[in-house]
Amino acid sequence: MSDKVISSEPSFSSHLLYVMRENPVTAISFFMFAVLLFCAIFGPSIVPYDPLASNTSNALSPPSAAHWFGTDNLGRDVFSRVIVATRLDLSISIAAVALSFVIGSFLGACAGYWGGWLDAVLNRILDTIMAFPLFVLAMGIVAALGNTVENIIYATAVINIPFYARLVRAEVNIRRDAGFVQAAKLAGNSDARILAFHIFPNSLPPMMVQISLNLGWAILNAAGLSFIGLGVRPPTAEWGIMVAEGANFVISGEWWLALFPGLWLMFAVFTFNLMGDGLRDLVDPRKRT
């Protein structure tokens, strides 16, 4: 069970098939992810109605054959809005997670490899970020930077950086003096090259799990922020706003306004949570056959 660097792989697709055969839950979660991706890419062109077109003569009608998820208070089709919102919600969370992955990995890898004052300073900064309840910090950042979608992405990225930086730092730190690293050094590789191509790839398997869980959190976080009126503005279709708008009608019995966007949001988060383990199998070099 020695650490190996990911190198020339047999074939990515055959490995993917192998992983999916091994664990049916993984296969299901990949399928669910494919559905989400399909909605995000093709959603706007396949939905039956314009998500922004209001039709007040048909407002608040319950789910029917024509409107699968019913219509909202302005007569907009809830199904179309839910599907179209997939693109926005996924983009926000993927962009935020990608940002925190890149920044967190870079900071964590440097701190773990070189240690010293760099490590100490980084740790203090991360401690400070973690000292805030994360959602509250995100609220504060969006309030300070201004109420836009980009700032939701930055805020979500900032609150997730500590998780990546800590993880990478620990993974890099334990391999800093490993045999294969010394061998690479003797072969004349530079520090940066060793760090990027020899040590860092080994921290990817646990990172993949983190990314997957984090995507779920990021979606929840973004939806939560827009639920309290930050970031995305109506009439844009977004799950958090749709639930917030629907909440006003739940008390009078129009349940479909809030239920369907809420369920779809849950479906997305559930997918990412399930996918975590599957992704680990996919990228773990020791699982390759």
Binding site: P133, V136, A144, G224, G246, A247, G262, M266
Partner: protein, 342 residues
């Protein structure tokens, strides 16, 4: 005994730089306001002169380090600025609303622990069994639930469909009179004066928001209890206890559970972070008059002093909670010494 005091003093000393960091971050957030705050505070019909006046009044014409020290001095005097929407000092607004949030959060925490810990123990007793799978599904579903959505769902089911829950509007129905302010916790205040009618009125309002918040926090507690119990059950002292012929329940609860509780207490820190965040959403759904809904109202009306005061209060609260958790941890477990870590 002196070693233990030293440990606690060490831990408190470690919290100071974090508090300092929190204050710096909150200062940066205050200064990062979009646009010129002076223009904003001067109002719609401001002239160049009045803007300049406001700028001097707010101390914005000074250098950043100077502003930081002024900010620090204000904080030490408990001055978080004026709220634009209520016209009151932010600190008194927050102090008035804090008990409502604490009552909700603590009730939810007790509820979550009393369900999640037995669930985790049950799952760990027989790994791979039906109970274990139920626990896992429950935990995964729990972390996937958006809090605000669960809240709305519960309102629909229990208020609209079944009609056993009161309307989701605040801490007490208007039929009841607010209990006299003693602790600010309605349940405790009404019980203290023996006003059981108000007690049950407040309890009825509290049930749904507390369940909503608890559902969200059960998942990490149950998962951690299960993992900690599995570790404890596979350790040598349990094998010895079993070999010595102790009864199953004695081994399980007397030895394994007590040891498993320690890592669970550590995760409570993380759980609090989630809870204080989720609190904001739950308060919004149930119109709960706590500091979370105060911050949401402030955000909507761009009342930045109130928002920053809220963020700072939450952070300080969270640092304090973590401190209490760590200290109680070192009091419970005699093996823990912080000098070993550094």
């Amino acid at each position: 005994m002196s070693g233990r005091f030293q440990t606690i003093a060490m831990r408190i000393a470690q919290a100071l730089p974090v508090v300092m960091g929190v204050v710096v971050v909150s200062f940066i957030l205050t200064r990062a306001l979009p646009g010129d705050p002076a223009v904003y505070f001067a109002g719609q019909s401001a002239t160049d002169e009045s803007i300049q006046q406001v700028r001097e009044a707010l101390g914005l014409d000074k250098s950043l380090p100077q502003q930081f020290f002024i900010y620090l001095g204000d904080l030490l005097r408990g001055d978080l600025g004026q709220s634009l929407s209520t016209g009151q000092p932010v600190i008194s607004d927050l102090a008035r609303r804090l008990p409502a949030s604490l009552e909700l959060t603590l009730t939810a925490l007790v509820l979550a622990c009393s369900v999640a810990i037995p669930l985790g123990v049950m799952a760990a007793k027989k790994p791979g069994s039906l109970q274990d799978h139920i626990c896992r599904v429950f935990v995964t579903a729990g972390v996937s639930l958006p809090t605000f959505f669960t809240g709305i769902l519960l309102v629909y089911i229990f208020y609209y469909l079944i009609g056993i829950a009161p309307s989701p509007l605040g801490r007490l129905d208007f039929l009841y009179i607010e209990p006299d302010h003693i602790t600010g916790f309605y349940l405790i205040d009404s019980a203290l004066v023996g006003d059981w009618e108000t007690f049950f009125g407040a309890l009825k309002q509290l049930v749904l928001p507390a369940i909503t918040l608890a559902l969200f926090t059960m998942a990490p507690i149950a998962r951690m209890t299960r993992a900690a119990m599995l570790t404890a059950l596979s350790s040598d002292f349990i094998r010895t206890a079993k070999a010595a012929g102790l009864t199953n329940s004695k081994v399980l609860y007397g030895y394994a559970f007590r040891n498993a509780l320690l890592p669970v207490i550590t995760t409570l820190g993380m759980v609090f972070s989630f809870m204080l965040g989720a609190n904001v959403l739950v308060e919004k759904v149930f119109a709960w008059p706590g500091i979370g809904s105060y911050a949401v109202e402030a955000l909507v009306s761009s009342d930045y002093a109130a928002v920053q005061g809220f963020v700072l209060t939450m952070a300080i609260l969270f640092v304090l909670l973590n401190l209490i958790i760590d200290i109680s941890y070192s009091l419970i477990d005699p093996r823990i010494g912080f000098e070993a870590q550094s």
